[in-house]
Symmetry: C2
Subunit: 346 residues, 2 copies
DNA sequence: ATGAAAGCGCTAACAG
DNA sequence: CTGTTAGCGCTTTCAT
């Protein structure tokens, strides 16, 4: 089916393309009768102006590129939801770029998004979550950001001036730890993720700091590393339970909800009651957290707000308005049923 | 920062734009020395050809529009993952259009995608899941599909010739029901979704049919309707448990996993052990299903395959190759820990 | 092997 | 109020 253009409409209406363009964009007054004649033709032919041609000229596409490491991980759809709800009324459409955390794919997408002339980029995951990101990878991002407005969500590239929106994970971990301590827990384990990620580093540091401030020791055996998955949570919890060299911890802080859910499963399987025998805290508060039984106590990161704020910042960047470089979202500890005051047994 | 164009590269290299275009696309032989000179300039300026201009000319954008009703519902990221993995190597990028199940937004996106000249559309959710879809809504889709290759995923618009890829939900429901019956269950309830959705209708019909075939009655009180959410599952399970007019069913078939998870929670809270006191089957097999305790027996719909097959069909449509109008994905019953053989107590 | 020039469909001066 | 025209950045004949 041949694409109908503004020329077809114009000639059929007996006017010039300029006039058609004018009614299309309401960019100048058009005689009512001409206008309605044109409108009729537009309806009749189901004419939709070619956005490529328009964008080519206007140098704006109304499109935002959203880079995520794994859309299958509930964290990111939640953020995306926030992005969408904040940007759709501004008329933006989204390229969803799923990188699978692969740096090469990130690079490719950065290129593609430039070619496609997106108005802005929201970058999540992958290289911006590394405790130490290789210089070339940083450079790439910086160079793209020099040409296209960009905001990093929940990540960082130290040494750069990139705009960021992030949850205060360190504070969240501190809150959770302090809460557990106040519930009477003294022997708390930390089930972490990859040690080369900044999120793991931050949470672990905060955990240790708060334990310290409370005069509580953290044995080396109490720090476990995994890969942020449910099965890692299961495996690590099993490890903890099998360690017969010491009594089991009365509480566990997990690096994210997946890990916590896995840990809970392993515990229940081993006949340990949650929260009676052991308290468990997750991180992120993805929908899963309140879906399981017992409902998970978790540090809510307000993923939707993360998305919404990212759009705010990005939009200002696009409009060349002034924005502050860093936006912090306050986390919130959501206490549910997986944690409990410790009844000292002696 | 001024966008650098093919003209800048050309003039700086002392050649014509045609030559630059040729090295860019490898579309005709270029003298090695010229080529390398150009390449160098491209690298140096970080030149990326403007895809809009190219697409305007070529009449293809390498972009697919993916319409989903709710990216926050794990079902859709899974499908999207399949789409992505099948299409990215073909060089496609994706517009993710989240409609929130709102028909107006669906219409808008259909328009936007046409304007943006996408090469194809994958349509999920909303109007294509209605048991009876209003004619105007059907028309819109048909008209779009007349201009842009489109495939409907897990939905249908009866009376149209649109291409579809769908899981056999009816069969899935039949399998699950038959399985429960074979486990000795005779009093089975069905916790459904909205009665105006085709998915609910299909599953319910299959459920009743199989019960019938086994000579088992289905009391009216055993069919409950909700809205596919966890809280509906909770509420409906409570309702079932509070009905003192009859013994509680020994098994429950749920319209989806969310509902099942909610039902399980309500049951556990009421002191009912799953699966010992009651068997529960979910539908879809989203990741959540295997995350909870007890792990949920569920009808796996192979969401990723749904996505992959949709891309296959769409790609052939785009290439104007022949494709069959309907692709069925076989469901699979995944038996886990939420179901159990019924031990008759009398 | 390379260049000149004609568009792709649209918008935005500039005239009238 | 409306028409003419010059591009936006790129690809592609058609020459050379």
């Amino acid at each position: 089916m041949k694409q109908v253009t503004i020329y077809d409409i114009a000639s059929e209406a007996g006017v010039s393309v300029a006039t058609v363009s004018r009614v299309l964009n309401n960019t100048a007054p058009v005689k009512a009768s001409t206008r309605s004649k044109i409108m009729k033709l537009i309806k009749q032919h189901q004419f939709q102006p070619n956005a490529l041609a328009r964008s080519l000229l206007k140098k704006e596409t109304g499109t935002i590129g959203v880079i995520v490491p794994d859309i299958t991980n509930p964290f990111f759809p939640e953020v995306f939801g926030g992005i969408d709800s904040a940007a759709r009324d501004k008329g933006f459409t989204f390229f969803l770029c799923d990188t699978l955390g692969d740096y090469d794919r990130e690079s490719q997408y950065l290129d593609i998004l430039r070619k496609k002339q997106v108005d802005g980029i929201i970058f999540m995951g992958g290289r911006i979550n590394l405790a130490k990101c290789p210089t070339e990878l940083v450079e790439e991002v910086v160079e793209t950001a020099a040409r296209i407005p960009m905001v990093l969500v929940n990540g960082n590239l130290p040494g750069t001036e990139l705009h960021r929106v992030a949850a205060d994970e360190s504070k969240g971990a501190a809150m959770a730890t302090q809460y557990l301590v106040e519930q009477g827990h003294r022997d708390i384990a930390f089930i972490g993720g990859h040690d080369y990620t900044s999120t793991n580093a931050q949470k672990l540091r905060a955990f240790k700091r708060v334990m310290n401030q409370n005069g509580l020791p953290v044995a080396k055996e109490r720090i476990l590393y995994g890969d942020f998955t449910m099965s890692a949570g299961e495996r690590l919890m099993k490890e903890i339970l099998q360690d017969s060299s010491r009594p089991r911890p009365t509480a566990v802080l997990c690096v994210n909800d997946f890990t916590a859910v896995g840990a809970i499963k392993a515990a229940i399987r081993a006949g340990i009651f949650i929260p009676d025998d052991m308290s468990i805290v997750g991180f992120d508060d993805i929908p899963l957290a309140s879906a399981i039984y017992p409902e998970l106590t978790s540090v809510k990161l307000h993923m939707d707000q993360l998305g919404r704020n990212a759009v705010d910042v990005l939009h200002k960047l696009i409009m060349k308005e002034k924005v502050k470089r860093m936006t912090i979202i306050e986390p919130e500890l959501v206490v549910r049923d997986s944690t409990k005051k410790l009844i000292h047994r002696e």
